[in-house]
Structures are given as structure tokens and as C-alpha cells.
């Protein structure tokens, strides 16, 4: 499967994806290939890392699991639109309906969005909705310094630190809610939004420090996102 022509095309698709210029077909190709071959997935991760470094972002290597997250995100988007049209999976991209969603900008947004979702955990109480995020935790048993009381689960350590102090964003209008086709995926954590979230989290924690207290915990929270300019 590693013969020349296919490999070349794959490489092109990979780099197109990294540049945010991949067509929907190319995205599918990379997803498929990375599902089949861990090597492709790893290469993708390396590219991501390289690109991040070039953009001077402090981003941890994105796990191979990103492919799964994106697959899941795409699968989720498909549902509302496919129900009408016999669901034919035309390989030649005809620019209709949901496919337009996956045009360049949207693909890039999806990738970034999934990157945030994929590495964090969701506290959402509904079972099933936090599949993507949960995978991180459940893939390995939690490592604990001391056994917690029965019935408590501690998240497994992860290597990630996507935006060290960035809060994780979960926009309200999930794609599965039947959003009209033109609606792009929500932008991820703009600097403005980040500043706002940090500010309110800090102000909240400082107030909380005066109220109920478990000692200095609220101060630890208040200082956590502090390196972001306020």
C-alpha cells in the first residue's frame, strides 16, 4: 500500500490539509489513510507540531486520535443533510449541501475545533454525548497517587497542554441540531474571547476566596490563567 503514486497523493493531501487548503476529498483521503496506517497518523501529528512551531503557538503534539475526532465530527454533520438525499456517497465532490460546509475555511475550523475537543474532557452529564472527549480518559486506567474513596474517578494524565490556560470551548449550536447549511463552525477561542474568559474566571475566583474556603484553592484557580495579558 506504500507504492509511489498513492503515497505521493497522500503526501500532497497531508500538506494541503496542513495549509488549510485541502478539498473535502483530500480530507477524506487523509482520514481514511490515517485510520488504516498509524504511520500516516503519526506523520500528521508531526506536521501539526511543525506547523504550530512555525506559528509560534504553544501547542502540544496533537494525538493520532485527532483523526477519530474529526471523523466523528464529520459523521455528525452528515446526518441532517443526508436524510433527504438518498445518502449516496458520491466520490466526485459535487458542491451541494453539507459538502460546502467542508470547504477550505470550514475544514480548517473543524480541525482546530476538534483539536480542542479531542484533548479535553467533558463534564456534560448526558451519557453518550461526551464520546470523543471520554476516549482520552478511558483508554487507560487512571493513575492515582493514592486510591481515592470508592466511587471517584480521576482523569488519567495527558501529555497535552493545548493553550496552557485556555478554557475549553463548547459552543451551543452543535451541528447535530440541524443548523442551516451556511453556518460555519464556531471560531475557536479568539484572543478577545480568551481575555474575557480569563478575566471573569479570575474575578470570580478572587471573590470566591472570601466566601467559602478550602484554604487557598481559589487563589490557585485565580492565578491559573494569569499569564494571559489582561
Amino acid at each position: 500500500m506504500s507504492h509511489g503514486k498513492h503515497q505521493d497523493r497522500l503526501n500532497e493531501s497531508l500538506s494541503a490539509l496542513m495549509d488549510g487548503e485541502a478539498s473535502e476529498l483530500e480530507v477524506q483521503r487523509v482520514l481514511k489513510a490515517s485510520a488504516a496506517s498509524p504511520e500516516v497518523g503519526e506523520r500528521w501529528s508531526r506536521y501539526q507540531l511543525a506547523a504550530s512551531v512555525m506559528r509560534r503557538e504553544e501547542v502540544a503534539p496533537v494525538g493520532v486520535g485527532l483523526a477519530e475526532s474529526i471523523s466523528a465530527a464529520i459523521a455528525q454533520e452528515e446526518t441532517p443533510f443526508q436524510s433527504g438525499s438518498a445518502g449516496a456517497e458520491a466520490p466526485a465532490a459535487n458542491d451541494h449541501g453539507w459538502r460546502r460546509l467542508l470547504s477550505r475555511g470550514a475544514v480548517a475550523a473543524t480541525v482546530a475545533f476538534a483539536a480542542i475537543l479531542g484533548v479535553q474532557q467533558i463534564s456534560s452529564p448526558q451519557p453518550g454525548t461526551d464520546l470523543v472527549a471520554d476516549a482520552d480518559r478511558a483508554a487507560q486506567p487512571s493513575v492515582q497517587s493514592a486510591p481515592e474513596p470508592s466511587g471517584f474517578y480521576v482523569a488519567a494524565p495527558t501529555t497535552r497542554s493545548v493553550g496552557l490556560a485556555s478554557p475549553r470551548l463548547v459552543p451551543e449550536n452543535q451541528p447535530s441540531q440541524g443548523v442551516t447549511g451556511q453556518q460555519p463552525v464556531q471560531p475557536v477561542l479568539t484572543p478577545e474571547l480568551m481575555r474575557h474568559l480569563n478575566r471573569v474566571m479570575i474575578e470570580h475566583s478572587e471573590q470566591a476566596a472570601h466566601i467559602g474556603s478550602q484554604g487557598m484553592v481559589p487563589f490557585a484557580r485565580a492565578t491559573y490563567g494569569d499569564q494571559v495579558d489582561m
Partner: protein, 330 residues
């Protein structure tokens, strides 16, 4: 390496099972959480337990305000671990606290004088307030306190107390108190599924008096906060039509761009921000960092857009309901 996708189904099932277990009314699942399986639901025993919990909580309230200590702490949320140095000193009856992150970006905070409290009517863990009879009854409507046994933390013996919420509108808490002093050496926030969202734990505790130099920031750009007048009760044009049972307003502040309303049930705290911000902030949804959730929404009043943000260590569903309940005071 990641596990293949098929595993997700198994995980989902396991999760819903756990969920089912933990969503049982607290009375039901409390039975298997009691220390001694042979223990009968004996009123006398329960009363003794309760008395003991209360003794510990008053010890805690005393310790966090009056003790001088310093130490190294791990602060962990959802798989991420940071280490900090904390110093707590008392000068002229005022608390001076310093927190410095030892990992990641250098971050530091020095807080002066939290001697005055935002006195919520009843607050068992209030820093300067002792566990009063009224407060006890009040907070126990929202949480059930259970002694969970002993554990060694930072080379010291501790007593573990669980505050188990009586509904799904707030998070649970597990606190380990130093047997000798009552100082909390470890505390965890736990959601309704039993998942630990945040863990703050001493690695090393030093109870010797704190030197003045240790209360000075070690980096020039440390943030300083002055807490001498923390609790204002400004008039706000906003009201929150729904808050979970037991939550009461403790502070209302006017900001440069809006209002800030703080609520507490005695243990948990959340803050409602209503601000006029730029159009770049019309995000609707939630942002989560560790145990802290921020739910954002917009509210239009008389043609003006306001950003509503509910922040707190509360379930995101609660934050959302609170945000939905914000309205102009009529």
C-alpha cells in the same frame, strides 16, 4: 497510542452504568458509602458522626484563618498537573497569602487582608466565621457531610470529609483535614458521575511561622489583590430569577463595563457577569477549565446587547440555567 474506535461503544456503556449508579438519590447510594458495612442506620451513630463532622469543620474554619503555614502543593485538573508554592501568613490580624506556580508560565499572586468576609448568612467554611447553629442547618439542606475515614497526605495523618450534594445542581467536595491542626491538606471537587474535576493536594507542609520575606512576591509582575473591602452590595439593575436551592447573593459589584453578582450556598460559589462588551464576544456556549465552568450568552435589552457570563465551580447545566434566568429587575 490510541485504542481503536470500536472501544468507544464499550466505554459509553460503562459510563452510562456509572451514571446510573451515581444518579441514584443520595439516600440510596449512601448505604454503600458508609464506613462500616455492618453499621445499621442507627440514629445514635449518625448523630455521633454528625457531631464529629461539625467538630472538624469548626477546626477547619479556625485553621484556615489563623494558622501560619507554607508548603508545596499539586493542583490538578482533568489530567493536567501543576505545582505551586503557597504561603499563608497573618499580620495584624490580616491574612496575607501568596501563591506561586512552580510549573509552566511563572504566575504569582499576593493577596492582602482577607480579614473581612462576604458574610453569607451561613457559611460553615467561611474563613473567619465559625460553624454556627443556623449555618449548619442551612448548608446541610444542600449537602450531606460524611466522614470518610483517614488518609495520609504530605506525610501527615488526615481525616477525610465528604460534602455530598443533595441535588444535581452543585458539585460535591472531598476535603482531607490535618488531624493535628484541621488545615485542609487535600481537596477535590467531584461531579455527579463521581469524576474528580480538580484536586488540590499538599506535598509538603511547613507549620513554622512565616517570615516576612516569604510573603513578598518573588517576581516583579506578580498580581496583587487587596481584599479589604471585598464585599460590596451595590444596587444592580439585574436580577437572577432562578438559582439552585440554598444559593444566596453574597456580593454585588459594579464593574467598568457592567455588573457582577456573586452567589453561594455556603460551599460552592458562582458569579454572574452582565456586561456591555464588543461584538466579538457574542459567543454562546460554555468554556471549561478544570472544575470551573463559564457559560456565555447574550441578552438584548432595549436594543442593547449584553454579554451574560456565569462562572463557577458548578455543573455546566446549572450555569446555563442561571444564565437563562438573568433579567432586568422590574
Amino acid at each position: 497510542m490510541r485504542k481503536p474506535l470500536q472501544l468507544h461503544c464499550g466505554i459509553a456503556k460503562a459510563n452510562s452504568l456509572l451514571l446510573a449508579l451515581f444518579l441514584l438519590p443520595s439516600g440510596v447510594y449512601a448505604s454503600d458509602m458508609a464506613q462500616d458495612p455492618a453499621m445499621q442506620p442507627d440514629a445514635a451513630v449518625a448523630a455521633e458522626q454528625q457531631a464529629s463532622v461539625e467538630t472538624w469543620l469548626s477546626k477547619l474554619a479556625q485553621a484556615v484563618t489563623t494558622l501560619e503555614y507554607s508548603g508545596l502543593v499539586t493542583f490538578e485538573h482533568t489530567g493536567m498537573l501543576e505545582t505551586l508554592k503557597v504561603v499563608h501568613g497573618v499580620r495584624d490580624g490580616q491574612q496575607i497569602e501568596r501563591v506561586r506556580y512552580l510549573s509552566g508560565e511563572p504566575r504569582e499572586l499576593v493577596s492582602h487582608g482577607s480579614s473581612k468576609n462576604c458574610a453569607r448568612v451561613s457559611n460553615p467554611l467561611a474563613r473567619a466565621e465559625l460553624w454556627s447553629g443556623a449555618g449548619r442547618a442551612d448548608v446541610q439542606q444542600a449537602y450531606q457531610f460524611v466522614l470518610r475515614g483517614e488518609e495520609r497526605v504530605a506525610d501527615r495523618d488526615t481525616v477525610m470529609i465528604e460534602a455530598r450534594p443533595r441535588d444535581l445542581d452543585r458539585l460535591g467536595m472531598v476535603i482531607n483535614l490535618d488531624r493535628e491542626t484541621g488545615l485542609p491538606l487535600k481537596s477535590m471537587l467531584v461531579n455527579s458521575q463521581g469524576r474528580v474535576l480538580e484536586r488540590y493536594q499538599f506535598v509538603k507542609l511547613d507549620l513554622s511561622p512565616v517570615a516576612d520575606a516569604d510573603l513578598q512576591p518573588s517576581s516583579p509582575d506578580a498580581r496583587r489583590i487587596d481584599n479589604n473591602t471585598p464585599c460590596t452590595s451595590a444596587q444592580s439593575r439585574w436580577q437572577v430569577r432562578w438559582v439552585p436551592a440554598g444559593f444566596k447573593p453574597v456580593s454585588v459589584r459594579t464593574l467598568s463595563d457592567g455588573d457582577m453578582l456573586v452567589f453561594s450556598d455556603g460551599l460552592s460559589v458562582f458569579t454572574v457577569f452582565i456586561q456591555r462588551l464588543g461584538p466579538g464576544l457574542d459567543f454562546k456556549g460554555r468554556a471549561i477549565r478544570g472544575a470551573t465552568v463559564a457559560y456565555m450568552d447574550r441578552l438584548e435589552v432595549d436594543g442593547i446587547n449584553y454579554t451574560v457570563t456565569v462562572v463557577g465551580e458548578i455543573p455546566d447545566t446549572t450555569a446555563r440555567r442561571v444564565a437563562d434566568a438573568v433579567a432586568v429587575r422590574s
